[in-house]
């Protein structure tokens, strides 16, 4: 186990700045997920930590040691690549053994090490195969086994589930946390899949355009996204974002949707009269009866059953589209007119201009331990 610190990293390719004054630290034994769209600089960052790309500016410390003059092979890192990067001319065994042969251990020790990690990843029956003869899932497991084989104190996983099919990805998402915990290593995990990020990360660093936009636990990010962009990235179906101008009434601050008032308790008074965007998670909106308090009349446009939930697209009177999500199997309207109710306490309010989060009632709820 070890710690990782990045201080003011800058990397430019020609005129383009790929990493822009980025700082980050990962605690001993922690799993940090780097999450963000492609082109955010996640992969470059990971390669820099691995020592195969050099930063233009800034410092990388592993276990408190400056890595500037330390070559990749001396950094004590295990890395799995998105495209697996298996050695095509070596058997799966030799692939997995590569971190072990580097330390010049005995043949028996190498064989034992490979067997152990291969069993763990359930590929001990294909060790004699070359990568060409492996299925995609086996390749992915071989790549992971290779990264783990040397028991590196620092593990870098570059979107290892990206190139495997949905079923495998689902399995691995369940299996990986256990594996990583057993390894006891400090982990940096890159992904573009928010579910993976939520499932695996002790903390998540959301990256875009070479900067870290927000860093926090999965709950913090989900319940208090720093801006509209992050709110949109986390959550499936995507968060509903509607333009509003908050007003102040006798009972506090409220917004109006289709002339129905939604109270926003706990919002600062400064938002009143300002152009805002309200963010409503689809699972925080429920169908209700006409005449119920806070019921907003809508028309159901389409219904999409997903595995564990049903997503309904409804249209408000002002022709604004809203997604409503409910657990599969629970009753709800399939078509025609209906009514929805919104719990103002779960809403986020973003500044329309900057996109930054102004306030969320939910954030205060996390602190009280009611949510998450």
């Amino acid at each position: 186990m070890t710690t990782l610190q990045l201080k003011n990293i800058v990397k430019r390719y020609k005129s383009q700045t790929v990493l822009d004054d980025l700082s980050l630290s990962v605690a001993d034994g922690e799993t940090l997920v780097l999450f963000g769209p492609s082109g955010a600089g996640k992969t470059v960052l990971l390669r820099m930590v691995a020592g195969v790309i050099e930063p233009d500016e800034g410092q990388i410390l592993i276990g408190g040691e400056d890595m500037a003059e330390v070559d990749a092979e001396h950094r004590g890192i295990g890395m799995a690549f998105q495209n697996f990067a298996l050695f095509p001319h070596m058997s799966a065994f030799d692939n997995i053994a590569s971190p072990l042969t580097a330390t010049r251990s005995s043949k028996d020790a190498i064989a034992a090490g490979v067997q152990k990690v291969a069993k763990l990843l359930k590929i001990d029956h294909v060790l004699s195969h070359h990568p060409k003869a492996l299925s995609n899932g086996q390749k992915q497991r071989t790549a992971l086994a290779r990264a783990l084989a040397g028991s590196p104190p620092l593990l870098l996983l570059d979107d290892p589930l990206r190139n495997v099919d949905a079923k495998l990805r689902f399995e691995m998402r369940l299996e990986l946390p256990r594996l990583l915990a057993a390894q006891g290593a400090t982990v940096v995990y890159v992904t573009q899949d928010y579910k993976e990020a939520m499932a695996l990360g002790d903390r998540i660093a959301v990256m875009s355009q070479g900067r870290i936009r927000q860093i926090g636990t999965p709950a913090e990010i989900y319940l208090a996204p720093a801006d509209i962009e992050i709110a949109r990235l986390f959550g499936d179906p995507t968060i509903n974002l509607l333009d509003v101008v908050p007003k102040e009434g006798p009972d506090g601050i409220y917004v109006e949707l289709s002339d129905v008032r939604i109270a926003l308790p706990g919002m600062p008074g400064a938002v009143v009269g300002k152009s805002c965007v309200i963010g409503l998670r689809p699972e925080a909106i429920v169908f209700t009866k006409a005449g119920a308090p806070g019921a907003i009349p809508v028309a159901v446009e389409a219904e999409t059953p997903l595995n564990e939930k049903t997503v309904t697209l409804v249209m408000t009177m002002r022709k604004r589209e809203v997604l409503v999500s409910r657990p599969a199997g629970t009753p709800g309207p399939a078509s025609g007119p209906a009514h929805i109710a919104v719990d103002g306490r779960t809403a986020f309010l973003f500044d329309k201009q900057s996109g930054a989060l102004i306030a969320s009632a939910a954030a205060s709820m996390t602190r009280n331990g009611e949510a998450a």
Partner: protein, 307 residues
């Protein structure tokens, strides 16, 4: 962790710094080539000198005289003319023939593949030896081609030994050797073309000449350019075939640049003139190779983008 990264690094001993590594790797190759650059510079210096091996005492800078003399030197104009005619004729004919053959062999079949492999043989024959082969075949005494010529009424056709047919003969040998070069490049090009436009055209019943000029040729252009530039660069510098066949003769019929420079150096020992000729040829090839390299870079970019 038992040891720090720094200790492990130190234990590994000899280490080339990351920044220096590429230079260290490419330095030996560079040094070998720089050795070649020195004579190149001397050649440029010689070209500005009055320099005859037979009169070393009279060696002195005459600056542009060698070049200025060319203006009124019929020998130089002959060299330029013959070189351009040679390059122009061979490349044009080889291009037409090579394209024709490539089109004939385009479809992959056992026969076509066999023929295309057979055609590699002339290309793999050393041009100097190819010239020798044709010399044997055009020998007035027993040459099979001389015999064929006499059969069609060309009694006493003297091939390379007559000023009127010498150019024809060396061009023929050049075509024999180098047409396959253009052919295999264009064949590779033709076979890598996407099939959809052709299938669509066939479905629509578009006439084949139209398909050829409007689809095949434009798509093949990068390959044609590559092959043409490559050949042009080689052909303007042709030495092996001409020297092995006629040594530039008869008379000055075939004194192309390199042959003329060679004769100037070794026979009339006029180093200055020889060097000036080479510098002019170098300027021509430098221009052509720059065009070529730019085009080549674009091709490579594209190949990389596709793969």
């Amino acid at each position: 962790m038992a040891s720090t990264a720094r200790e492990r690094k130190a234990a590994s001993g000899f280490r080339i710094s990351r920044k220096a590594l590429p230079y260290v790797l490419s330095l030996p190759a560079l040094l070998v080539c720089i050795g070649i650059l020195v004579p190149f510079l001397s050649a440029v210096v010689y070209s500005f000198q009055r320099y005859r091996l037979s009169q070393p005492w009279a060696r002195q800078f005459n600056w542009g005289d060698n070049y200025i003399n060319f203006m009124t030197d019929p020998g130089f104009w002959n060299t330029l003319k013959v070189s351009l005619i040679y390059a122009g004729t061979t490349v044009t004919l080889e291009l037409i023939l090579g394209l024709g053959i490539a089109l004939l062999l385009q479809r992959r079949s056992t026969v076509n593949n066999f023929v295309s492999i057979m055609l590699l043989m002339p290309l793999m024959t050393a041009p100097a030896l190819a010239a020798l082969m044709w010399k044997l075949m055009t020998n007035p005494g027993f040459g099979i081609l001389s015999y064929f010529a006499s059969l069609i009424g060309l009694e006493d056709f003297r091939w390379a030994s007559s000023p009127s047919s010498a150019l024809f003969t060396v061009v023929l040998v050049d075509i024999w050797v180098y047409t396959p070069f253009i052919m295999i490049l264009l064949l590779a090009g033709l076979r890598s073309l996407p099939t959809q436009p052709f299938e669509a055209a066939a479905l629509d019943g578009v006439p084949r000449t139209f398909v050829f000029f409007r689809i095949t040729l434009p798509m093949l252009t990068p390959y044609i350019l590559t092959a043409t530039l490559f050949r042009l660069l080689d052909s303007i510098q042709q030495f092996d075939i001409i020297y092995a066949m006629t040594q530039g003769g008869p008379g000055d019929t075939l004194t192309v640049f390199q042959v003329e420079a060679y004769l100037n150096f070794f026979q009339s020992t006029n180093v200055g003139r020889s060097a000036a000729l080479m510098v002019i040829l170098w300027a021509i090839t430098y221009f052509l190779s720059n065009v070529f390299i730019k085009h080549w870079l674009r091709l490579r970019e594209r190949a990389r983008g596709e793969s």
